[in-house]
């Protein structure tokens, strides 16, 4: 809300949100208080007060900030679900959504297998013959794979955005992020065709009893956690900044941190298979003519962030040049870091 009066609406909003009032109720309350204050000032000025005295008198009539806050906080129906049941919002719901997403992935895999590879022993291999990467079957399976990898990250970002927006204490969001990372990392889809032609598709959540055997899952969980934790920590740090044009407050803007998160995601997507290959001493990473889902996702992340960076630069360079230049440098550095493995390792 643009500051029209001396009344500290920002402090009142923070007080309400920290006490668990749902953002939509807080926003509407502040909007009506703002209008009410304008009416009171107009009334006091019509009564002959000068502008400063009229504002002081109007603020006194409006009520003490703490009284205004308590009047809202005491009514339980205004509490957000994050305040009433944080265990459900940050623990149960994201896990259920992740499970639902895995079920959807398996359903799509089963449908794709039936439609495009009806005779193949597995839906993970490439169909015989020469195929374009833009062929419908390829796009279908790649999109499904992207959805499989992206869902835990999107859920984690959702947790971070909700927690930062509603000023939730860090404990429950962290539990949610760790749960999503662990399940997202551990869940491996498998598909088999038995001798009789029957198809079996499922998800394994087991942890094998060796570090090396779990390496891929541990790295995947680590990637999900780091990619989702960063925006949350930035958003949380930004909430504590009072100066809206400070570096901390600026970096929490979606157009600032999203490109950073995208570059980090792209980089870790490259590093995980490389690290797995090197540590487990499997076949070196090869350049496949059909680049695969990770390559497509990497290209998507690196391209989509360009207009976001441009928007950020156009909007903020004039208003707050110094922090904007700093953040643009960070974004450029992250982008280059993500490109480095492709260039140096000829991926």
């Amino acid at each position: 809300m643009a500051r029209r009066f001396d009344f500290d609406f920002d402090a009142l909003r923070e007080r309400l949100l920290e006490a668990g009032v749902a953002p939509r109720y807080a926003r509407r309350y502040l909007s009506e208080l703002d209008d009410h204050l304008a009416d009171l000032i107009a009334e006091e000025m019509a009564a002959g007060h000068n502008a400063a005295d009229a504002e002081q008198a109007a603020m006194a009539r409006l009520g003490a900030p703490e009284d205004l806050a308590l009047a809202m906080i005491r009514q339980r129906q205004f509490q957000s679900w994050c305040a009433r049941a944080p265990w459900a919002v940050f623990g149960v719901v994201p896990v259920l959504l992740l499970v639902a997403s895995l079920c959807f992935t398996m359903l799509m895999l089963w449908l794709g297998w039936k439609m495009f590879l009806p005779t193949a022993a597995t839906p993970f291999g490439r169909p015989p013959g020469t195929h374009s990467r833009f062929e419908l079957a390829n796009i279908y399976f790649q999109a499904n794979q992207v959805a499989y990898y992206l869902t835990p990250i999107l859920l984690g970002w959702g947790i971070g955005v909700i927690a930062a927006r509603q000023r939730v204490k860090a404990w429950w969001p962290m539990v949610g992020l760790v749960l999503i990372a662990v399940i997202g990392g551990a869940a491996q889809v498998h598909a088999n065709r038995f001798a009789g032609g029957q198809i079996s598709i499922g998800v394994n959540l087991y942890i094998v009893p060796s570090v090396l055997g779990n390496l891929n899952r541990i790295l995947q969980a680590f990637v999900i956690l780091s990619v989702t934790l960063l925006p949350y920590l930035i958003g949380r740090g930004g909430n504590m900044q009072q100066d809206l044009n400070s570096f901390g407050a600026m970096v929490r803007r979606p157009s600032a941190f999203l490109p950073l998160a995208m570059s980090l995601t792209a980089l870790t997507m490259l590093l995980v298979p490389i690290a797995t290959t090197v540590i487990s001493r499997h076949t070196p990473v090869s350049h496949d003519p059909d680049e695969g889902a990770i390559a497509h996702l990497w290209q998507l992340l690196m391209t989509v962030q360009m207009p976001i960076v441009l928007f950020f630069a156009v909007k903020w360079l004039r208003r707050a040049p110094r922090p904007t230049v700093g953040i643009l440098a960070l974004q450029a550095g992250a982008w280059l870091a993500s490109c480095a493995p492709v260039y140096f390792l000829h991926l």
Partner: protein
């Protein structure tokens, strides 16, 4: 300038009654409601004016009020009006407070009778 304090009794069912009674007659926005309460009660009920909104939002959340945004003289405001649920609630509150006021009036009258030093009937 001292900040206006909210009369504690205002937070115990009286605001709902007054607001529902006012809105029964016509739709109003928050500032209008507060001014109407002050003028019709002769400023006997002093409130921090901003606390009227949680009461309005609470009534709306309970289904007793509805709101709509309306632009008047170039300013967009949220107008509130009573629903059938609100009318039923008003009837209940009116009965409760009428009975309570009668009881208190009788009690005060009886108190003066019993406590009157000259034994005068009132």
């Amino acid at each position: 300038m001292a900040t206006r304090e909210t009369n504690p009794s205002f937070m115990n069912g009286v605001p709902e009654l007054l607001i529902l009674r006012l809105l029964e007659q016509q739709e109003m926005y928050g500032y209008e409601i507060v001014q109407a309460i002050e003028s019709r009660t002769g400023s006997a009920i002093a409130i921090g004016e901003g606390v009227v909104y949680p009461v309005l939002h609470g009534l709306e959340s309970d289904g007793a009020l509805t709101s709509r945004r309306k632009t008047v003289n170039g300013r967009s405001r949220i107008y509130y009006s009573v629903t059938p649920v609100g009318l039923r609630r008003l009837a209940g509150l009116t009965e409760t407070w009428t009975n309570l006021a009668d009881a208190i009036r009788k009690m005060l009258a009886g108190g003066r009778l019993a406590g009157g030093r000259n034994g005068q009937a009132v």
